[in-house]
């Protein structure tokens, strides 16, 4: 999947996460994370985001993540939707 423009999903409400994906010219996933639990869970959140993107075949993206204590499944869902919007797709049929 290729990101064509910026796309975001999620809210800033408690237990949610807002993800915005920006296309980037070079390879690699770069994540800017703001989270009240950054110290304890920062690494785990970054891993979930990276793995979800890799699963979608996205290897280049600038990710903004504003976390409000989201669970893994929420993070995954928000990343997938943001990716779909950033790629200009209507649904995730391409998802393996």
């Amino acid at each position: 999947m290729e990101l064509r423009n910026a796309g975001s999903a999620g809210t800033l409400e408690s237990s949610d996460i807002m993800i915005t994906l920006h296309p980037k010219t070079d390879e690699g996933i770069e994540i800017v994370l703001e989270s009240p639990a950054k110290q304890q869970f920062g690494k785990a959140i970054n891993t979930t985001i990276t793995e979800t993107l890799m699963g979608l075949g996205i290897h280049s993206a600038l990710v903004e993540a504003k976390d409000r204590g989201a669970l893994d499944c929420t993070i995954k869902a928000r990343v997938e939707t943001a990716a779909m919007r950033a790629a200009g797709l209507d649904n995730l049929e391409v998802y393996p």
Binding site: T11, E13, V32, E34
Partner: protein, 335 residues
């Protein structure tokens, strides 16, 4: 906001928080419960402001709902670098929503931002034009349009300092478009080797740092000037090792004058000297861009010749300037 009645509710809620609905606001939302407005927030350009939640409802995450909705609106317009203009007591709440603090001026305001390209990236870019020198000064100009007065100010600074950094206010709310202003300035100082002309960006007199500059109101101008200057002393001055700031005396504009007054108190506290250069006088009056615009408005284009560098006067006579001149003639804007 649909009806005047709803708008009145918004104004009343803001007022109860010591805020007002700024006149440059382009988009406002309200959250109602049982016909009662419990929260509101607005957008102006890339700035979220005028956010308030009813005292009775605190702790239900209403402000998170408001900011989310405004971010969705902005992202739909392709705006991903977003500022929040907040009172100091609300800043912590916005930080918990993932915004980073840029600067604060107690007791008036705090500026926060979000997005991948924030003030740190701006400084990284700025660092590339760092030039070492003992006396490094900064001049912030709008140049609407560039006059012999601006040229005189920049040249005076260039004689007295090793390096002169000129920042051009980017916000495109002036009668002369940004690209034109920037070009005329660059042409006008091209022969002075120790002058660097920079794009002002979001951090010098922008709608984020100094919203009142772009409206006519002079109340609160001093408070907002203070915030703009906090950004300057905290981020821009240290990056370029600026030791002084040059300004022209301000005989006409009350908002600019109150900005100059704020500089007198704030800059010396941070070891930056403020140098006020008396205006260049031609005839009995000081040269100023507003004098030039007035002459154009009165249809006296020829009389601007003695107030402008040749290149600027030539521009005014060119076909490219025609729409600008038309706008000046019909506008009663201060800018």
């Amino acid at each position: 906001m649909k009806t005047l009645q709803e708008l009145e509710c918004v104004k009343a809620l803001l007022e109860s928080h010591g805020l007002s609905l700024d006149d440059d606001v382009e988009y406002t939302i309200g959250i109602f419960r049982d016909e009662e407005l419990i929260g509101t927030g607005s957008v102006s350009g890339k700035v979220i402001k005028c956010v308030a939640v009813s005292e009775k409802i605190k702790g239900e995450g209403i402000s998170a709902k408001i900011v989310t909705s405004l971010l969705h609106y902005l992202s739909g317009k392709g705006v991903h670098h977003v500022f929040i203009f907040s009172k100091p007591e609300s800043a912590e709440q916005f930080r918990s929503l993932g915004f980073r603090e840029v600067a604060r001026s107690e007791p008036y305001a705090v500026l926060l931002e979000t997005g991948p390209h924030g003030v740190e990236e701006y400084k990284k870019e700025l660092r590339k034009s760092f030039v070492d020198g003992k006396k490094v000064c900064c001049i912030v100009v709008n140049c609407n349009p560039f006059t012999l007065g601006h040229q005189y100010l920049i040249r005076t600074a260039a004689k007295e300092c090793d390096v002169v950094h000129v920042f051009v206010v980017r916000e495109d709310l002036s009668l002369f478009p940004y690209a034109v202003r920037l070009r005329l300035i660059r042409e006008g100082v091209a022969d002075v080797p120790n002058v660097r002309v920079h794009e002002g960006g979001d951090y010098i007199i922008s709608r984020a740092t100094f919203p009142r500059y772009f409206t006519r109101k002079t109340d609160f101008a001093a408070a907002q000037a203070a915030l703009d200057l906090e950004v300057f002393v905290k981020h821009i001055a240290p990056t370029l090792r600026i030791t002084s700031r040059y300004v022209g005396e301000e005989p006409y504009c009350a908002v600019t004058n109150s900005y100059n007054e704020a500089m007198k108190t704030i800059l010396p506290k941070h070891g930056i000297r403020l140098v006020v250069v008396p205006r260049l006088k031609i005839g009995s009056e000081a040269v100023s861009a507003s004098r030039v615009r007035q002459l154009i408005k009165d249809g006296l284009l020829e009389e601007t010749r003695e107030l402008l560098p040749e290149s600027v006067f030539a521009f005014l006579k060119s076909p490219e300037a025609r729409p600008i001149i038309e706008r000046i003639k019909t506008s009663d804007s201060r800018h």
